[in-house]
Symmetry: D3
Subunit: 252 residues, 6 copies
């Protein structure tokens, strides 16, 4: 089984961090290729960043043709995940979604800890959209930019520990999702410090991808996730034009 | 007051149709300029289309500098509206949101009628996200592609009338939002045929934009809609790089 | 266009304050007449006050015959708004509803600041009924009675600033609705002090009324807002008997 | 124990019907006095009717002084119930609320059957406000006016049976609330015909009132249901002025 | 009328305490028999305890044959209440449900105060399941085990007072449900100390049971609460085998 | 990795069917042992069945000591799953939960198809509890008892196909969860006939269990899922007494 993990941003050292988490999480027979979009922001910390990241993320899927059995979108917020499911039959898993499912399976009440304060609304809307507003009891932010999350590991870990303690003590969170792909790999240290399950969202998504592939499930083409109708899309290369990419829709 | 109405797709005859509705709806002192993105799909009928439309929509806002007092995103689903509010201080109104507010003000229970069957989920999620799942009692689709909505006016009107009648009779809808910018201008004919308020979403958004401008309100920069932090965004032109566009943030 | 703004209470100096806000908010071609019910409480601070205010508010609409194009009910909580939509074809806008729509258009998360502590439940239920429980993140009260809100402007402003700061700092509110018609006109001072959009709910409702009139939309008479059936209503004057007032239902 | 049952309208033969149901439902030691407001509509079939009914309902409570231990508001929709709880310490029970609690206790999924089609929204909002949108699976209306519900008993029963059968077969309702006080007394006949619990809402409310009185519970005066502050209320008699009626607030 | 009150646990002195509350709450003509399951935990403080308590609770109902007119399950969380409604026609009332209905009837916003911190999720889910997440504004726990709640009355009362004060001051709760059958009888003392309605959940359930019996309502056998189909259930005695117990289903 | 799959009922041929699905779904290195409780009903088709099944299910976990790395509860409705998470550190996955996560990952709108009509409420409540009421658009039942689901495979498959077609055509479901462990193995046939993803819930849960184990996550012992406090539980064997079973709580 081959899974392509797509970093949501174009920050290469984060791609490497994500790869480490993904490789560590995979089953032995799974092959993981971690990549990053050709186009898009260095980090996703705003809706603007998120929306400019999506075409590049989708391109990564289109370019893959049939080489992969599943895709992971490694950016909390799951940018473009519905579109991704339209353009391929292969399962596409968002790390936000995956981490919340895992949290649900090990804790009655959980929270999300993440980076910049301004992402509070993005996090909250992602949870609301998924339907877990009654399960998620805490969203807390360090205020540390995504890039520093990658480069200043110890400071980031300390800050996450601090808000994690508040999530446990004040909000009664019993597990925590790491709400940024850049935090991949910090789960073990934080779990040790905080004493509750801390979920590496990238790792969670790899496991979900393996699960869906192994179940031989593919994206439903019944209605919502049908292949986009052929039509000109200005300003995008030929390989991104609907009707031009195969969307492996004849495979099923 | 100058309002820029941005067609969500790159289909020029739809831009013209939107312009007609917008011009018809404006107050005398309002100047409307209707435009379409340089890049993006000919119609928005899938999540894929929607996400590839967003960068072009946002670019239209960035390129406007300080020339406009407000923006309307003329695509039901309000693609990119949160990001748009980050990159400008000027009000940005989505036509979905606007039409639902208008529906709420004239009817206790309302519905949305729109194009392709596959957009059902997109419509439903837009309503859920806004918080009106208990007010919207009907979503019905004609199955007619967006482009034909523009080019085959009579067939479209007939088909909308037909699903409109079902929405009234079976779902007890008391007003209907036209769930596609391409349906702009059909509200009067449908209102006459159906006997209930039918809301031209583009017109609704123009009025909302005029309202917010007249109230001297601008996008809150307190947290979520702060200007995106400067950072490189690969594959996008200089004028779309955060830190490069002014975001008229010094105006307030 | 002529809009009648109806103060929800019978406190004349508040009617004047509301009028100032409404006049300041109107477009040049709009004519505003602000009035107050002949009957009803001096201020609305309880459910009892609210329910006794409603017949007088409705009477103001009935007495207007066809002189006005729209009505604004200037009392946060929108007392009687559904009934008002039954007895006239002309749009009727509540200031609570209007202010929340405006808040949604400029902020991701917003709050309501208002008068007496006891109104907390009334405010909360109004928001829940509208569907915005997931958008409204803060409701805070000064404890100052409505009448003093009008008469002690500086103390009121200071108190609102104080709870506004808490709403921003603790609840992460990014815009604030002024939850009482008596606070009309304080938005500019508070906006300056707090640095986030503060919404004068009366002004917001005037703009919504202008919008709906301009869109030529009227109350749906399909089901819920049909004209009340003729029947005797004891204790109310002839002009308030269903069947006696025209409800301008023959206009459409 | 003395309970005052207040018909929501001023239709005397309905008051008698309500009284019969209430008397039949009371425990032997309970004394029931059924009454109707001096002012208000002959029937409640619209929001307009409902709001004009409320002052008269509240007056019935005020005039009762300390003669009663509890009040029942006999109109599905519970008009004015929050205000009623402000002006007295004595429990005030709405028949809508009461019937829904009873339905919850005997059925997993239940419905409401009622009169005019136009009341659909009023019924739905009452259920949503209470929090039972996930328990109520059916709302169906006969189209028969309230007054005929009282005067044409057999036709009403037949029509209720018919929509009741649809509620069971199509919506899988397992119990039905009679959504109008005028239907009091029809529960037994309908229960026999339909084979599921049919709840006489007046009877249900009498039992709830007896329960609360027997528990020695009174309306909380902590915040929301505090006695209204003294203030002039124009157009209402002296005995309805806050500060003039005792609200038996010194009793506790 | 004969009501069987079933303590959810097997702690005899708690059964006695429950009996005192139940006897104090009953109408003169009601006969109350309070009992405890033969099997089950000494106290219910975890999901494990709760699930092991349920078979014994159900057995108490089955063994009662036709001797009782209604049953009360005296454990906050209402363990097994849906199953109980399947195996008998007689009304079965849970004390959680009953106390919440009573709270709704006397207060706009209420809370639950209870025992061990770990039960927070159980309490919250019970409220969510019932549909009152928007009415319940506070859940607070003393940390005192259930057994001590019974044996250390003064310490328990002091601790409840303390969290009750926080519920009032910080969460604006206006009434409080005692979230454990072991707290039965403490309502009067707490009501005196806290000044708001405090609801003895056992007493509340007795009143609800009397109400339903008096209304001649029984569990709907239309769908969900049908008698369980005959089938072998290993490890349970003959009298608990479906098909063997009569479920008094022939009575209706 | 060793996973114990626990059939929720005591019907041996269903245990075998579950085992086949589980074995087919496991990764090569996973060892699956499928078992059934010593005590409990032959099938779970009512709340009564469900609650009597739970102690036996929990016993299977307790008896396993440290031999297994995870548990699957193979009964749609996930009976006892919260309690199971208290008594072991090892992940416990319910098949309902697992199948809904999988459905979410491959379809925008999905449904559940299952056995007896009476289980409608159980299914609906399970979905509501999880938070997916806005994702699940269809619940349909064949009316075929669980046991026949196992023994009459072809009739069951035909009946499921039939309701599946309705779910797709009328409710616009785009994937279907098989809502009964007895349907394990029918997913491929149904997928072929219906053309949309059909999810074998047992297989889904095996994959989720493998995922959580591989992520080294265990049940949070922070609050809700703490090991039950030692206390006597009458009528249950020594090995089921809290304090006697180790709950492998010292492993972490």
């Amino acid at each position: 089984m081959r899974i392509k993990v797509i970093n949501g941003n174009t920050f290469e050292s984060m791609t490497q961090g994500i790869d480490q988490s993904a490789q560590a999480a995979r089953f032995p027979d799974t092959e993981i290729v971690t990549t990053q979009p050709k186009a898009g922001p260095e980090s996703v910390e705003s809706y603007y960043d998120e929306y400019l990241a999506i075409p590049g993320i989708l391109e990564e899927i289109i370019l893959s043709g049939d080489e992969f059995d599943a895709f992971v979108i490694a950016c909390w917020g799951d940018p473009g995940v519905e579109a991704a499911r339209e353009i391929t039959l292969k399962p596409v898993i968002g790390i936000a979604e995956a981490s919340m499912y895992v949290a649900n399976m090990v804790a009655a009440r959980w929270g999300v800890i993440t980076t910049q304060h301004r992402t509070l609304d993005m996090i909250e809307k992602t949870i609301y959209k998924t339907g877990f507003s009654h399960r998620c009891v805490s969203i807390r932010t360090t205020g540390i930019p995504v890039v520093e999350t990658e480069t200043a590991r110890e400071a980031t870990t300390d800050a996450l520990e601090q808000i994690g303690r508040l999530a446990i003590a004040q909000d009664k969170a019993e597990a925590l999702c790491l709400g940024c792909a850049g935090m991949s790999g910090l789960d073990h240290a934080l779990e040790k410090r905080l004493g509750i399950p801390v979920i590496d969202s990238v790792a969670a998504a790899v496991k979900m991808a393996e699960a869906i592939v192994s179940l031989h499930k593919q994206n439903s083409k019944a209605l919502t996730y049908q292949v986009p109708s052929p039509k000109p899309i200005k300003g995008f290369p030929a390989h991104m034009q609907p009707g031009r990419f195969s969307a492996n829709s004849d495979k099923k």
